[in-house]
């Protein structure tokens, strides 16, 4: 058991160490390998683990068959999801072409479209696409005409998404294995942080054959950071941190001006705080290289007050890594996860909206309990 909040349990520690330094696998015992594979799978990082180890081709072939076959299974699942993401994008590009508006890919689909190496082994569950808010209705109409259907139909959920959220409910289509999340900005518009949506579009660039655009590199990092520390409860989301580490490494290697751009855009979008949390944990856990000059500005200027940062770092440390494969989640972890869930809701909505939302959710839970049915959560 961790003796302090910031220490990681062995299974998480080994996973992070191997992700940062794949050569470290040569020193692992069989039980450590077993834990590593189970933790990686639980964290949806098995494909990424394969990708990192496979680049050391010689060492990979020497691994025992029971280890190799699990890594290969991760690789094949990642290949499937990547293929389905590309297929979805091609289909959606055709459907939305008549609108003539920018289609900005976000997160996993954008990493694939840019051919980033961090996309290797990732397992996207959906495709995130951002369009201008004024085009959202038309986009939805065209997609519906092509067979895309919104997932949640409860009137309250519809209202929640359309009035308060930065995205529509997830959309599904027959023949498509992944869901489509249609965004009009990157964080809830009624939330506490308000990134400059127009600036996101203005700085976006075309990718591939030009049917899609992607955010500028700095905005991609900021979006990943905001998504993790503003819009989620962090539970089991270590892979998001791995993404941020990957983005930072690739973009800084390609462009010496990247760090400066990251700082300026963080100021512009007021996303310095999530950036601080993300980079702090990336440096601590994944050895993300941050140049001294950039580090001194980012870690000083964006540092949250001690009263926020110690608790959040502690909570995130306990909830981001996957659970210990040999135990059920501890009461502590469940409690921390609940705290972070409240925090995410708090950041997502102003107090009166939060109260109403909590009331409606509570009401719905009560009704469902009474009827003995289970309901999905919003």
């Amino acid at each position: 058991m961790a003796s302090s909040l910031h220490e990681l349990p062995p299974h998480a520690h080994n996973l992070l160490r191997v992700l940062a330094e794949p050569e470290a696998v040569t020193s692992l015992s069989s039980p450590e390998w077993d834990m590593l594979l189970r933790s990686a799978r639980s964290a949806r990082l098995l494909g990424v683990l394969h990708a990192r180890l496979a680049t050391k081709a010689q060492a990979f072939e020497l691994l025992p068959a029971p280890i190799r076959r699990q890594l290969v299974a991760g690789q094949l699942e990642a290949r499937y999801r990547r293929h389905k993401a590309v297929f979805l994008c091609e289909s959606v590009a055709r459907v939305l072409a008549p609108l003539g508006m920018p289609l900005v890919l976000l997160k996993g689909a954008s990493y694939i479209a840019q051919g980033l190496s961090l996309a290797d082994g990732r397992m996207p569950a959906d495709v995130d696409l951002m369009v201008p808010r004024q085009s959202l209705d038309d986009a939805e109409r065209l997609l519906a005409g092509a067979g895309w259907q919104l997932e949640k139909t409860d009137p309250y959920d519809q209202h929640y998404y359309r009035a308060w959220s930065h995205e529509l409910p997830p959309m599904q289509c027959a023949g498509q294995a992944l869901e489509l999340d249609l965004h009009h900005t990157i964080l809830p518009p009624i939330g506490r942080l308000k990134p400059k949506t127009q600036a996101l579009f203005d700085a976006s660039t075309p990718v591939g054959d030009g049917k899609f655009r992607v955010l500028c590199p700095a905005d991609q990092v900021l979006h990943a950071a905001a998504h993790l520390f503003q819009d989620s409860d962090c539970v089991g989301r270590l892979r998001d941190l791995v993404d941020i580490d990957g983005l930072v490494r690739e973009f800084s290697a390609k462009d010496p001006a990247f760090w400066d751009s990251l700082y300026r855009r963080a100021c512009l979008h007021q996303l310095g705080r999530p950036l601080w949390y993300s980079l702090t944990l990336c440096c601590r856990w994944l050895d993300t290289p941050v140049p001294e000059e950039a580090a001194s500005k980012i870690f000083t200027d964006f540092r949250p007050p001690a009263l926020s940062r110690w608790p959040l770092l502690g909570l995130a440390s306990q909830t981001l890594p996957p659970v210990d494969p040999d135990s059920e989640p501890s009461a502590t972890r469940r409690f921390f996860a609940t705290l972070l869930e409240f925090r995410a809701l708090w950041l997502r909505m102003p107090p009166w909206t939060l109260t109403y939302h909590a009331f409606r959710k509570g009401q719905r839970s009560l009704v469902a309990w009474w009827k003995g049915t289970r309901i999905p959560s919003t």
């Binding site: 015992s29 077993d34 639980s42 699990q70 299974a73 293929h83 659970v323």
Partner: protein, 314 residues
């Protein structure tokens, strides 16, 4: 050392500590549990399996736990944990073995993408595999188990494990699950077969399991060449009807009845294509088990053992 060579108490101790690790052939499975009555059941049904060392890498590690709190006393329940997650709802305490088996099957079906996993029974004779796809009402399990009691070696009653490189079928040995009438049919058909306890009122009806014998277990790493695919339909109104199934149709039916065909894409297409190319495919409607077995025995003997595949034109 085989599981049957240690006592129930010995199994119980292992389950409560590092677990019972079993090599099923295509996958290695570990079971841990604090439910004492599970030990005797596992010892009976996994008796012929070797106990693997604690420190091997596993494909699936499951933990069966008594539910906490009031659920220990009033209507006690058990829960299945898989790598820190609980994929199923809680079950009554009186169904420990089915829950463990479903949990392991669930994990394997989702993870073993290194192979193409068909939803089928597989037996073999003389190195030639018979793939028996599972359709509802097909009686797949009854037929598969019955074949295994009449000279065929069982590779699996649930997963047709197809190796991607050469389409050979690999054993994935687990206690064979029988449901409802099937249990009585097999009891009569093979009175010497070792059947585990019956679990009535599960979600699938009454369930019981068949233990595998030592000779089957010892061949857990011996693959079989594809040779025959039989789509069975148990029909009490039909004595015996046999049709040849066109290979393209057999391909389609096997693909839709697979756990992970969709995930593997081009590799699944190639592996399944090769398997179908090498196999004679039949549809069999029957009510008499013996007659069905005789027919399948004939198919296997007739299967062209010299079938080879032309290399792809580049």
């Amino acid at each position: 050392m085989r599981v049957a060579e240690i006592t129930d108490a010995g199994v119980r101790e292992r389950l409560a500590a590092k677990g019972l690790t079993i090599d099923c052939g295509a996958a290695v499975v570990r079971i841990q549990s604090d439910v004492p009555e599970l030990a005797a059941m596992l010892r009976l049904l996994y008796g012929a399996f070797q106990i693997e060392p604690d420190d091997v890498v596993t494909d699936a590690s499951v933990m069966l736990r008594l539910a906490r709190g009031s659920r220990r006393v009033f209507r006690p329940q058990i829960e299945l944990w898989l790598d820190g997650n609980r994929p199923f709802e809680r079950y009554p305490r009186d169904t420990p073995l089915p829950l463990v088996e479903w949990g392991v099957n669930f994990a394997l079906a989702k993870r073993l993408h290194c192979y193409l996993l068909l939803h089928s029974g597989v037996v073999e004779m003389g190195g030639r595999a018979v793939v028996i796809p599972a359709m509802p009402g097909s009686g797949k399990s009854t037929l598969t188990v019955a074949l295994s009691q009449r000279g065929f070696r069982l590779l699996s009653d649930e997963f047709g494990v197809v190796r991607l490189s050469d389409s050979r079928l690999l054993p994935l040995l687990r206690p064979a699950a029988l449901k409802n009438e099937s249990i009585d049919v097999i009891s009569r058909f093979a009175p010497d077969a070792i059947l585990g306890p019956r679990f009535p009122k599960t979600r699938k009806g009454t369930v019981a399991h068949l233990a595998l014998d030592a000779s089957t277990v010892d061949e857990r790493h011996t693959p079989a060449q594809p040779a025959v695919v039989v789509f069975p339909r148990y029909d009490p109104t039909v004595e015996f009807e046999l049709d040849s199934v066109p290979k393209a149709r057999a391909f389609g039916r096997l693909a839709v009845n697979s756990f992970n065909y969709e995930v593997l894409g081009p590799d699944a297409f190639d592996a399944l294509g090769r398997l179908v190319a090498l196999s004679d495919c039949y549809e069999l409607r029957y009510s008499d088990l013996d007659r069905a077995i005789d027919a399948i025995t004939l198919f296997v003997r007739r299967a062209d053992s010299a079938t080879t595949l032309e290399e792809p034109a580049s």
